[in-house]
Each structure stands twice: as structure tokens, then as C-alpha cells.
């Protein structure tokens, strides 16, 4: 987006207005749309055309790494100093399943969190002007960025859905 683009932030009291605004903006060809909601709302996600989240790849890779680590580590340490304990083989796979399982869960969970942080760009501690404290309470928000010549069109689409508040400014958010 060029530097002379404009940003609009509309707050809505109603879910259907929010979803309609997003759909109309997308129909009109606006690409830089960001939505805010006080809770996970799948209608908004659907309106924005989200597919599968790649978090699952992190979970899978983390889990498999954990399983492999669990088996490899227990086996290696048993071979490192072979001691017969309880009449069991030096490498007792059934006993190591427990360790491998716990490592699968541990690595899988931590990888999921790392994936979430990377994908949703958290933590993000710089103060953002494109935000309203109402978005964590009872209102939905739609932020759209439009080139200067299409600014009026974007404002018209948002206005048509009767927003509780409509802010505009030069600031460009990282959508």
C-alpha cells in the first residue's frame, strides 16, 4: 500500500453488521481487511475466507520430534552404561513408551505454542492506534485500508452497516 492510503476503523454493536461489512468490502475488492472480536467468531473467519491454520504442522512436527527424542534418549542412555535391572532387557521398549509418550505431549504442546506465537505475531507489545478497548468487551471492529482514490467507497460500505463509531486516519496497520 502506498503512503497516501487511508485507514478506516468501524466499531459495530452487531455481529450481522460486521459480517455484512466484511463481505461487502471483500466483494468490492478491498484486500487489507482486519476484523476484531471479543471472542472467537467463526462467522467472521468464514467471511474473511480463512482456510486451515498451519498451527497443526507445528503440533505434528513437535509431537514426532518428542516421540523420537523420548525413544532415542532412553535407548542411548541405557546403552551408554548397560545395567540389567529387574531382569529386563537393556533396551526395554515397553517401559520407554511411557517416557516417549510424555515427551510427545510436551514437545507437541510447546511447539503448538511457538507456532501460535509465530503465526499470530505475538507478543506484540507496541501500542496500536488501530484498536478500541471496546473490542475486548462487547463490540466488533472492522479495519480497512484503502488507496486515496477508493477511500470514499470504503467509507460508504462501512457507513451502510450503521457502525457505532467510524474513525479514519492516515495510519497504516500491519494487516
Amino acid at each position: 500500500m502506498s503512503a497516501d492510503s487511508k485507514g478506516f476503523l468501524a466499531s459495530f454493536d452487531y455481529l450481522d453488521s460486521t459480517v455484512d461489512a466484511i463481505e461487502n468490502l471483500r466483494k468490492a475488492g478491498f484486500k487489507e481487511i482486519k476484523a476484531y472480536a471479543p471472542y472467537p467468531e467463526h462467522h467472521i473467519e468464514a467471511a474473511l475466507g480463512y482456510g486451515q491454520s498451519p498451527v497443526r504442522v507445528f503440533t505434528l512436527v513437535g509431537g514426532l520430534t518428542g516421540a523420537a527424542t523420548g525413544f532415542a534418549f532412553t535407548t542411548w542412555t541405557s546403552m551408554d552404561w548397560p545395567l540389567v535391572v529387574g531382569g529386563k532387557p537393556i533396551v526395554s521398549i515397553p517401559a520407554y513408551v511411557v517416557i516417549a509418550f510424555e515427551m510427545t505431549v510436551l514437545f507437541g504442546a510447546l511447539a503448538t505454542v511457538i507456532g501460535l506465537f509465530i503465526l499470530s505475531r505475538l507478543p506484540d507489545l507496541k501500542p496500536s492506534v488501530v484498536y478500541d478497548p471496546e473490542f475486548s468487551s462487547g463490540r466488533y471492529g472492522v479495519y480497512v485500508e484503502a488507496a486515496a482514490e477508493r477511500a470514499d467507497e470504503a467509507r460508504r460500505i462501512l457507513d451502510a452497516e450503521d457502525p457505532a463509531e467510524l474513525r479514519e486516519g492516515e495510519e497504516v496497520a500491519d494487516v
Binding site: S53, T77, S92, S137, G138
Partner: protein, 457 residues
């Protein structure tokens, strides 16, 4: 913004919560100035923590001899209390993860408190092996690290499995708890000022509730729940194998893993009832914790109580049916031996008292549930006491039988652990939103401008 008529609202989980922002108002109110009741409880808890740490310090100073532990009973109140707290933790994960995957609509109001309970209960439980080993400065020997003697832990030992299970459980449940709280900390941030705002800004990680954040958050949460579900079952199974892998009569049983898991959920749900009844009263959360929630929890208690009772009876039956003299003696001794009172407390509290939950009137009476939940908590502590102590004091050889009596230090640590748990739980209710704000809104009807038009699907 009320979007439904009064009759329609009757069918909802929270008929008295009218709009989304009500949730913020009612929940964030709890975080403001603490009342007198909170301070009294907090002072009692702090005094208890003093007793807990004092008793422990005394044991560290004098040595493990100040406890009643000796041959033949080497595991006593410490291991009993360890298993008790791990068990308490389990229903928190059950409510937050398993009921999440099953989409149970009644979990939203209670799950944050249940999850906090999990984290603090595992934290408390984790101290007990350290207390129990006596020389806690050697506890790091349990962790596999390269050392000068090239020795590694024995990974075939259930005690090492337990180290891995409990540390994984603590890590995962703490992460799960924190992550679920992030959007609500953001809500607290937006509703606060000054120093609190600064604190919440940092620990909310700058959460803004954007579509991208919610999208990935939702998926990550499902995966964490899916990982936590088998984890919770594995942890108490591993704890039960600490016993079942040994050949001690009364411990060596294949039923132990499911029996322990059911018992854990039973005691944990009872603890959730105990805690939330107090919270509901002190913080005025009647609109969020309704009789529907307590009814559902009571049914869960009833179910797990039946499973636990079945396990007790089948243990006695198997001891008789096996024809094994030592096994028979062990279980006869359990019912009529030196510790008969502990066994009968266990059977009464866990088997008889919950029978009252069959009645709807009892399930809908919150004072009755509160009293029953305390009975269950006591009963479940005694269950572990029975398993640990009666089995050890009366093993194979008659000349090796002996009596165990907990010392004052042990009782101080055991009672103090409840204060230690309460201390953290009380701090939690003041510092983090104790009711899940964002998730509650998911079960409220969304505000709609056009009543006639269905929401876009």
C-alpha cells in the same frame, strides 16, 4: 442489545446475562478492591503457608526422622497427599480439555477456576516427592543430566516415569492455562488503569482480538486440548503404577490405572464444587454459575463415584476369588485390621454419601452439594491413605508387620499444603479473571441487528 425474548432466554445456559459487555463488567469487578472475606481467608492461608514452610524447614534441619516413616511403612502421609493433589488436578484438565473437545456447553463458567486449580494442585503435589525424599538438595538426581559417573536414571522405573509425567503435566497445564487466559487478560487490560494496566499489557502479550489472532488461537487451543486429554489419563495411570508395579499385596493390581483416573476425576470435581461455591458467594457470580452447572458437576461426581465403588468392590472380590492367602489377608486387614477406621471413612465418603446425588433435589441444592463435596474430599484423601499405609504395614512376613503413626511435622506439612494451595488460588482470583470472559461470550447469543435474518453461515 438484548436480542431474545424472556421465554427464549430460559433455554440458555446463562439466562441472566443479557449482553456481551455484561460479562466484562461482572468478571472484572472481582479484580477491583478485595472485600473483608477475601482478606480473612488470605490471612488464614498465609498463616498456614507459614506452618507448611516451618514444618518443612524443621524436617530439613532435623532430618527425615522427624516424620513417622520407618520400616515397614516407608510411604506415609507425604505420598498420600502427593497422590491426593495430583488427583485434584485432574478434573481441571478434564473440564478444560476433555469437555472442550466434547463441546459441553456447561464448562465455560467453571473451567478457568478449574484450570487454575489444576496448575496450583500440581504445583503443590510436585513438592511432596521433594518433601518425602528428605534430602531435597539431591532431588536433581532424578533429572537425566551428564554427570562425572556416567550414570543415567533408570528409565524402567515407574518413579522416573512419574518425574517425567508430573513435570510434563505441570508444564502443559500451565501453558494451557496461561494461553487460555491471554484474551481475558487483554480484557482486564482494557478495563484497568495505572500499574495494573502496565502489568496486564505485558502479560496479555499485546492481544487485540484480531481475526488472525483468533484464527490461530482457536486451532492451537484445540491441539493443546487434544494433547492434554491423553496426558491427563497418562499422568494418573503413571502415578498408579508407582504402586501397581510393585508386588505388595493391595498394590499389585491391573485395575489400578483406570481406578486411579476415575478417583482423580471424582475428587477433582468435588474440589471444583467446593471452590466455586465459595467463589460464587464471595464474588456474586450467581448469573454465571447456575444450578445447571452444579447439576452437571454433581452427575459427573455420581458417575465417577460409581466407578470408584465398583473398583473397591472388585478389589475385595478379586482378593477373595483369587484364593491367594496373602491377598485375602491383606484385604481382610484393610476392612477389619488396625486401620479399619480409614477404610470405613473411605467407603462411607466415596461410596455411600454420593448416593444422595441420585436425587435431583440434592443436585439442585448448592449448600447440600458443598457439604457432599467436602465429604468426598476427605474420603478421597483417606482412599490414598488406605492404599499406601494399610498395604505397606501388613505385607508378607508377620515379623515384618508394623504400625505407622503420622508425626506432628507430617500433619503440619499435610494441613499446610491446603493453605499453600489456597494462598495461590486466592491470589489468582484477584489477579486474573477467574471466569473465562471470551469463552463465555461464545455461548451467549450474538447481538443481531436484523432479528429476522439468520446469521450468515
Amino acid at each position: 442489545m438484548a436480542t431474545s425474548t424472556a421465554t427464549e432466554r430460559g433455554a440458555l445456559t446463562h439466562p441472566d446475562v443479557e449482553q456481551l459487555s455484561d460479562v466484562n463488567r461482572d468478571v472484572l469487578k472481582i479484580l477491583s478492591k478485595p472485600g473483608k472475606g477475601w482478606w480473612i481467608l488470605f490471612l488464614i492461608a498465609s498463616a498456614g503457608v507459614g506452618m507448611f514452610l516451618g514444618s518443612w524447614a524443621w524436617q530439613v534441619y532435623r532430618g527425615i526422622g522427624v516424620s513417622g516413616l520407618n520400616a515397614p511403612v516407608g510411604w506415609g502421609v507425604y505420598i498420600t497427599t502427593f497422590v491426593f493433589w495430583v488427583g485434584i488436578a485432574h478434573s481441571g484438565t478434564l473440564i478444560s480439555a476433555i469437555l472442550f473437545l466434547f463441546r459441553a456447553p456447561w464448562r465455560q463458567s467453571i473451567y478457568r477456576a478449574a484450570e487454575a486449580m489444576t496448575v496450583f494442585a500440581v504445583m503443590t503435589a510436585g513438592l511432596f516427592p521433594l518433601i518425602h525424599v528428605g534430602r531435597l538438595w539431591h532431588a536433581y538426581w532424578l533429572i537425566p543430566y551428564p554427570n562425572s559417573r556416567f550414570l543415567w536414571p533408570n528409565f524402567k522405573s515407574p518413579l522416573v516415569w512419574d518425574v517425567f509425567a508430573v513435570t510434563t503435566y505441570f508444564t502443559v497445564s500451565a501453558v494451557f492455562f496461561y494461553l487460555g487466559t491471554v484474551p481475558d487478560i487483554a480484557a482486564a487490560r482494557d478495563g484497568s488503569k495505572g500499574l495494573r494496566k502496565k502489568l496486564y499489557s505485558v502479560i496479555s502479550l499485546g492481544w487485540r482480538g484480531t481475526d488472525r489472532q483468533w484464527h490461530h488461537f482457536g486451532k492451537a487451543y484445540i491441539f493443546l486440548a487434544a494433547l492434554a486429554t491423553p496426558l491427563v489419563l497418562s499422568v494418573h495411570s503413571v502415578v498408579s503404577w508407582d504402586f501397581a508395579m510393585a508386588i505388595v499385596p493391595g498394590w499389585h493390581a491391573t485395575i489400578f490405572a483406570p481406578y486411579f483416573v476415575a478417583g482423580a476425576i471424582f475428587s477433582g470435581v468435588a474440589m471444583v464444587i467446593t471452590l466455586t461455591v465459595v467463589m460464587r458467594k464471595v464474588f456474586g457470580l450467581e448469573a454465571y454459575l447456575t444450578t445447571k452447572h452444579y447439576d452437571a458437576m454433581a452427575k459427573l461426581c455420581l458417575l465417577t463415584s460409581l466407578i470408584v465403588l465398583y473398583a473397591y468392590l472388585s478389589e475385595f472380590f478379586m482378593a477373595w476369588y483369587s484364593g491367594e492367602e496373602i491377598e485375602r489377608t491383606a484385604f481382610w486387614n484393610r476392612l477389619f485390621g488396625d486401620y479399619w477406621w480409614a477404610t470405613w471413612i473411605m467407603l462411607t465418603c466415596n461410596g455411600l454419601v454420593p448416593i444422595m446425588l441420585w436425587f435431583k433435589r440434592i443436585r439442585h441444592s448448592i449448600p447440600a452439594l458443598f457439604v457432599i463435596s467436602i465429604f468426598i474430599n476427605i474420603g478421597m484423601w483417606f482412599e490414598r491413605y488406605v492404599i499406601v499405609v494399610t498395604s505397606l504395614h501388613h505385607e508378607f512376613e508377620p515379623w515384618a508387620w508394623g504400625i505407622y503413626r503420622p508425626s506432628l511435622t507430617e500433619m503440619g506439612i499435610m494441613v499446610g499444603s491446603f493453605a499453600w494451595f489456597g494462598f495461590w488460588f486466592l491470589l489468582f482470583t484477584r489477579l486474573l479473571p477467574p471466569v473465562a470472559i471470551a469463552e463465555l461470550k461464545e455461548v451467549l447469543p450474538p447481538p443481531m441487528r436484523k432479528r429476522t435474518k439468520e446469521a450468515h453461515s
